[in-house]
Symmetry: C2
Subunit: 145 residues, 2 copies
DNA sequence: CTGCCTGCAAAGCGTTTGCAGTTCA
DNA sequence: TGAACTGCAAACGCTTTGCAGGCAG
């Protein structure tokens, strides 16, 4: 599943910026590609094991930080627990359920009305990607009735 | 400034739910009323000193948690640093600047279009209050040009 | 006087950082 | 070879928790 990007494309960007291409970086790139997004740094660490022996959490954080600086990746704060990381280019933001903790993708265009109003009144340029909106997902909403 | 609520009203709710009314609770309530909202737990601790000798951070957290359970108060994750607390009833959500860290209030109605679309497609019930949206404030946006 | 509430200190979680050793170019 | 990268462990900021003592009811 996931995004139409290859590991070679990602490491190509890394190389073109004078950064080194290493095994851990390839493995993290592969995990991000294979995922649906919404992975925490710890989940990435765990999944990397299938591609490589092991990668320490601090290395995962440093690689994700580098990917973000290169515009390859973004992280989102969900409001409960660790931030989730995903490749850019999905054109989607996130919503998180306050009860079950699940996260869903939302098309960025859903935010256009809000973005326009924020720009008009506050001069504020919204970035819908950095923080996940909170609420109640369908399952938890119906269950709580 | 602040909300049209009194300390007596707040402690009234506390008492009516069988909880005890204490000096620290009164002081935290007063700080929340006097504030514009957007206070972190630490800021609340510091401001409480003007009303009372001192209140430990853990007590502030426990009081805020109780106020939230009673529907008096809410906290918002801004995506950088500590959560901010504010009394409910403002009818506003928050946006935070990724650069300067400032927080601004936004009328809840700005979210109505987004909320409708989320409800229609995902069955998701948005709560705009729990997480602050991120972006670039007017000052930082113009400065970065 | 009883038990909820507080303060302190320690632990917890997610994340960052310093440093010695390893690996890519 | 040399600089960039990694792993480990310790530190960090924010928040929660355990426990002994204090205060509201």
């Amino acid at each position: 599943m996931g995004v139409s990007v290859t590991v070679d494309q990602i490491v190509g960007v890394v190389r073109s910026h004078g950064k080194r291409v290493t095994q851990p970086k390839r493995a993290v790139a592969q995990v991000l590609i294979d995922s649906e997004g919404h992975l925490t740094a710890e989940e990435i660490s765990l999944r990397v094991v299938t591609h490589l022996d092991d990668v320490s959490p601090s290395t995962v954080y440093r690689i994700l930080e580098e990917f973000e600086e290169l515009g390859l990746c973004e992280h989102t704060h969900t409001g409960h627990g660790a931030a989730v990381y995903h490749l850019v280019g999905g054109g989607h933001a996130h919503v998180t359920c306050n009860v079950c903790g699940g996260t869903w993708q939302v098309p960025t265009e859903y935010f256009s009305n809000l973005a326009t109003r924020l720009r008009g009144t506050l001069g504020f340029e919204l970035n819908p990607h950095h923080v996940a909106l909170a609420g109640l997902c369908h399952n938890c909403a119906t269950r709580s009735l």
